[in-house]
């Protein structure tokens, strides 16, 4: 779960620094996450771990666009270069 959240953060960082490269291939993270209305950590009532696990399961679902975009992130030419896969 932690690793998946880290991957999402990596995706957001790529989008922050390379917006045109990602948009050229219709890849987005920020907008999708914004539409999810995720709670701030401090606003979570009750068992935080359970709440985080539920968010993880939702974002990790096979048909969630975040999962698809992370899966295909390294097909984008500039990302391939950065990650040494070109």
């Amino acid at each position: 779960m932690l690793e998946y959240f880290e991957q999402i953060i990596d995706g957001l960082v790529y989008e922050l620094y390379l917006p045109e490269d990602l948009n050229a291939y219709d890849f987005a993270f920020a907008n999708i996450l914004q539409n999810e209305n995720l709670p701030a950590l401090d606003d979570i009532q009750g068992n935080e771990l359970e709440a985080l696990r539920a968010i993880f399961q939702h974002l990790y679902a096979q048909d969630n666009p975040i999962r698809r975009n992370l899966f295909l992130l390294d097909t984008i030419p500039v990302i391939r270069m950065i990650e040494g896969k070109a």
């Binding site: 998946y4 969630n64 666009p65 698809r68 899966f71 295909l72 390294d74 097909t75 984008i76 990650e83």
Partner: protein
């Protein structure tokens, strides 16, 4: 995004240009093909196209060995994403297209499965157990990301682990680093195997082997320092497929206890379940190609695969390849005849020429027309040998279909494949107008047979052309007989004769009934110029055989 057209030239079995038109929006396809007809060449063309960039595959390695050295070959895929078509090429001259993001994405999503792969799921290792470690790490999970090493797949992990084995055990930091990597590999694999097990249970349920339960038993990888026998190494590459049959745990020895159908079912389920670990493709190209993977299953055990495809691979473009005619017809009934907008069937044949194999491809149902079109195309290109192969294929398809539709008895052979075109032709010859029989016989003896075999003969342009014309006329005749058109034309001609020049004699009526549909139409056109019955007799003497 789906494939709307595949073009192959000089690739493996495909000498010269061949096209599979899949239309918009990119239909799923069923292919029936004899051994050697090019099914596996298509399988590898698609697989290698998608893997060309990632695995540095060279087109030259798959180039048809009979192609002219200076004539460039290629594999081209035309893709349509709903708005516009784009063609991507893989050839000796163009390797860039295969590294485009949409093709790399297709590689990640797509699955290719052939019977040999299914066998790997029940090969016993020296320890008398089925160990799936290599299959999982090098094939099924090779592109699946290890959740503990974001951005890196199990395939990459495994390469990295092997490259990280220290040569010198005094290098403790290297050993610690390797150990950390091993831990992440073990943890990630344990999680993925749980997911795989869950998908496998879902998929395997379709086969209705209620008394067979599947699970994985994973041994963790460990680093071993060199000893008397071996150098430094990683041990523990073991993922045992545990099969519970009734109340018995078969302890990884299931190939000794289960029948072929259950073993094949398990193998197919493992592969398809592994594909379902991927996220769902959205507007991405994702293809699933199954090349005769069901040959170990009887018909009732094959049917669940249809449901699996329908329920779990709706976002994939499906390619089902088989050499089993009966299964092909069932698949056509299940897919093409129910949903022709989404499915298309092809038939692949192969010339039995020992010198040069030429795949013959046509859409099901339109096969004869397409073969004749190809014959004409090759004729125009002055490739008379290829033209003859297509004419002969059209002829064989025509006469088999006619005998089948008219229930004409042919000699019994235990193996249907041993039935020769001669058997069909002899059985139906008496039902064909004599002028067509004469031309077809000439075409068979002069063009179709000798040219399609490995004899060296002089090829004459006019004879090939006559052969194409003869088979085209035969097609016209048989089609009209089967659709009863001919009876209607005969009846119309006789009515017009009676009302124009009078009732013909019985002998003339018989001659009219024996005319080909082509000749009947000609007679119908010429009728207005007849003033008396002798004109009809003259016409018959001029145009028809006595």
């Amino acid at each position: 995004m789906r494939i709307t057209q595949i073009d192959l030239k000089h690739y493996r079995g495909f000498r010269n240009e061949h096209t599979l038109e899949l239309h918009q929006p990119g239909k799923n396809i069923l292919i029936y093909g004899e051994n050697g007809s090019g099914k596996s060449s298509l399988f590898h063309a698609l697989k290698q196209f998608l893997n060309a960039s990632d695995q540095n595959l060279a087109f030259a390695d798959g180039r048809n060995i009979f192609a002219e050295p200076n004539d460039n070959g290629y594999v081209k895929l035309s893709l349509h994403d709903g708005s516009q078509p784009t063609t991507y090429e893989w050839s000796a001259q163009n390797t860039l297209d295969t590294s485009k993001p949409e093709i790399l994405a297709a590689r990640k999503f797509s699955g290719f499965l052939e019977y040999r792969d299914v066998l790997k799921t029940h090969l016993l290792t020296p320890g008398d157990r089925v160990n799936l470690f290599d299959l999982l790490i090098n094939t099924l999970l090779v592109d699946i990301e290890n959740p503990f090493t974001p951005g890196f797949t199990f395939g990459q992990n495994w390469k990295d682990l092997n490259a990280s084995i220290p040569r010198d055990n005094r290098r403790t930091s290297e050993i610690a680093s390797l150990q950390a990597k091993i831990d992440k590999f073990n943890d990630g694999l344990a999680i993925k195997l749980q997911e795989l097990e869950s998908q496998l249970t879902k998929v395997f349920t379709y086969f209705n082997y209620g008394n067979v339960k599947l699970s994985f038993a994973l041994s963790s990888l460990v680093y071993r320092r060199r000893d008397k026998r071996d150098d430094n190494r990683i041990d523990g590459q073991k993922v045992i497929l545990r099969v519970k049959f009734g109340s018995e745990d078969l302890q990884g020895k299931h190939p000794q206890f289960l029948n072929e159908a259950k073993l094949s079912g398990i193998g197919i389920a493992i592969y398809l379940a592994a594909l379902l670990l991927n996220p769902t493709p959205q507007n991405d190209l994702a293809i699933l190609v199954l090349d005769d993977v069901l040959i170990g299953l009887d018909m009732s055990n094959r049917l669940p695969v249809i449901d699996i495809i329908r329920n779990h691979f709706a976002n994939y473009q499906i390619f089902l390849l088989t050499y089993d005619r009966e299964w092909f017809e069932i698949l056509c009934q299940q897919f093409v005849e129910i949903d022709g907008q989404k499915w298309k069937a092809f038939e692949f044949y192969c010339s039995d020429d020992n010198q040069l194999e030429i795949p013959v491809i046509a859409a099901r149902g339109k096969a004869v027309t397409e073969y004749l079109m190809k014959a004409n195309d090759y004729f125009k290109l002055h490739d008379y040998k290829a033209a003859a192969v297509y004419v002969r294929t059209a002829f064989e398809a025509l006469i088999k279909n006619y005998c089948d539709k008219r229930s004409i008895p042919v000699p019994y052979k235990e193996k249907a494949k041993e039935l020769k075109s001669e058997n069909f032709w002899n059985a139906m010859e008496s039902k064909i107008p004599a002028d067509i029989v004469k031309d077809v016989k000439t075409a068979r003896s002069v063009v179709m047979n000798p040219l399609s075999h490995s004899r060296i003969v002089a090829v004459f342009q006019a004879e090939v052309q006559k052969a194409i014309q003869a088979v085209t006329r035969l097609q016209e005749e048989l089609t009209s007989q089967l659709s009863n058109d001919k009876l209607k034309v005969i009846s119309s001609v006789l009515t017009k004769l009676q009302s124009g020049i009078g009732q013909p004699a019985q002998s003339e009526k018989t001659r009219i009934e024996k005319l080909s549909i082509h000749q009947l139409k000609q007679l119908e056109q010429d009728l207005p110029s007849f003033s008396a019955l002798p004109d009809l007799l003259s016409w018959l003497n001029l145009h028809a055989l006595p």
